[in-house]
Assembly symmetry: none
Homo-oligomer: 424 residues x 2
Amino acid sequence: MSAEIICVGTELLLGDILNGNAQYLARQLAGLGIPHYYQTVVGDNPTRLKQVIEIASQRAEILIFTGGLGPTPDDLTCETIADFFGAPLVERPDIIEDITRKYVQRGRVMTASNRKQALLPQGAEVLPNPTGTAPGIIWQPRSGLTIFTFPGVPSEMYRMWEDTAVPYLKSQGWGKEIIYSRMLKFWGVTESAIAEKVAAYLNLPNPTVAPYSSRGEVKLRVSAKAASQSQAQDLIAPIEKQIKQIAGLDYYGADDDTLASVVGELLRGAGETLSVAESCTGGGLGQMLTEISGSSDYFWGGVISYDNSVKVGLLGVNSEDLAKHGAVSSIVAEQMAAGVRSRLSTTWGLSITGIAGPTGDTETKPVGLVYIGLAGSNGEVQSFEYHFGAGRGRSLIRHLSACTALDNLRRKLLSQKPAVMPSK
Amino acid sequence: MSAEIICVGTELLLGDILNGNAQYLARQLAGLGIPHYYQTVVGDNPTRLKQVIEIASQRAEILIFTGGLGPTPDDLTCETIADFFGAPLVERPDIIEDITRKYVQRGRVMTASNRKQALLPQGAEVLPNPTGTAPGIIWQPRSGLTIFTFPGVPSEMYRMWEDTAVPYLKSQGWGKEIIYSRMLKFWGVTESAIAEKVAAYLNLPNPTVAPYSSRGEVKLRVSAKAASQSQAQDLIAPIEKQIKQIAGLDYYGADDDTLASVVGELLRGAGETLSVAESCTGGGLGQMLTEISGSSDYFWGGVISYDNSVKVGLLGVNSEDLAKHGAVSSIVAEQMAAGVRSRLSTTWGLSITGIAGPTGDTETKPVGLVYIGLAGSNGEVQSFEYHFGAGRGRSLIRHLSACTALDNLRRKLLSQKPAVMPSK
């Protein structure tokens, strides 16, 4: 028993819009525990749509259509479905009435083309659309097959799904078993390295563990199928604990946690404050930190020292060192971190200087070379050198630089916590 | 003759990610004039993937796969395709070498699981991945059928498509009748206002004009179908010119232009420089400006004055004004802009102070209230007040603030140009 999503619309085939409806429905099906193995996108073309219905109706018991319910001539979904199953279309006076009423409310007059939206396959139930004019249907064209149709407008579709489709599916016995997931997040480690460390978990039946990676971040999704969220959590908890132990400091958080939010909580917990000095990231590190509402409790601000004159004038970087070692060097990174920390009177100063490219590199300093500086309250100043690789491009190098700066501070803050390092 | 897009990944079926790859490929195929009638999403499951290949290979001549090329056991796309067509997998030493080299560059060691990525179907050509480790393939498993595989990571896929797949498809005769589009971009105006102004153009047959909007930006896509790009451009040019005249200063650029790049070119052309002072955006304005390679020619840096102490200490904001009017006020915005301009010795100083929420609002200062300050070389200081609305959320309010700051500077710079205002 499974469901299949069929999105109808030439605008999807032209790439004019992102298929957010498929993502929404996919999440909803997972939440209800309804298996779902295929999604298909097809244009506003009756012949091809019928082909898709034929294939899908052979391998799924619930077909969910979005799109093609509007009043214009290219909106063909409902009549094509009816035609495929050999059912006549019947004009529904209750729908005519509903559309007329909505038009009056908006100070408009119903047009002839809207009458088309009142034609439903004989035997289908109306799936009401409270916010728009195009109704959907819930229909069993034959035993063991249920069809839902929704308009393509996301806000209308969400409301119809929640108000009518979900209660209907629950009345049919769905939603008794749910899928609940935790996304575990890692930084400073590759996907393949994590996958090898947790290889024993990647073949578990329930919960399942699957690795992902994007833009330097590695994730493991732990998903459990159970009768309730708390039972799913009970299945996930021991696996999550073991994976965290295996990953050590490479694990940084779960679900909505970000490196910035985790660093923020550590600073808040310690009653410490942070300032930043940014060169190649140009403000990106500050932006990440201030994405968190309430970050003003521990983040005081910083200096975007894009030009060398700002490094000297506002951060007190030594101009001889700048001339001798260049702006992208460990000594300048350290002076930037120490400078912003002392000028803003914060516990920590964190700095980034590097070559984001595609230009600005030299023979000894390739694109992707980045130094991160960290100055702490005991006068200690450290720096870290990274080679992110020229091939990764300006945007990703800047993103990796900002995240890696946060990750260095995170590891430093954790190493100071008595719970992690009892000897300190 | 048509192409079909097949996206492989359980994360798509679970709704964990949006299918941006399908949209990208759909647009690209449209641009090359390659017909494309179906998109399918299927999980990391060999049996189901084979079923999809069977169906797609009967109705299309070009199959484009994304996802499932990674190093982990659930990455099965390449071996499943090979298995379906009965081809053995062969380890390619050139790929092993390439992966090893990339790992060395990043200071890491290749793991055993990466070897899997070097296994390609016998007879397949490598589709090189310059930015990641997973290569794709270009393969004719039988006459009249061409297969392309790409990793699911969007940035890697885009690069591989542009560098290798497009030249290959053109060498096969595609791209002769092309669809060419220009995306015209507007700021400071609503989608419906633009759509009403250009209503006469929205029903043209060729070129077509279609409105879009997202995150405060309004766009009009002007698309022409023609035998060549230059013929398409000839169709588009007069329409584009008329639309620009209608829109006036609300039009800011086209295609890859951003507000930051347009402001940058204006500054560069005038030989002027810019510094920024950011409160609620926390570095986001500096980040936008420095997304442009070469921005160091005109952007010197700035101060992230998140805490009031930084506004006073580093920008010279008057602490009495701060106490009397609050940090979110026109007078503080103006002092921030003037302060950063004088301390960094730039032609212009641009500042942002506002309430991004969801907390921090007061009875007189709601979430979404933002002041933008602009200080110029003649000692003139201005400020602008905006109400972005609490309902739009922290992230969007910050984005709108940074873009609107750039837009104010853009309008100011344009108003100074003799070509636009001949009286000056």
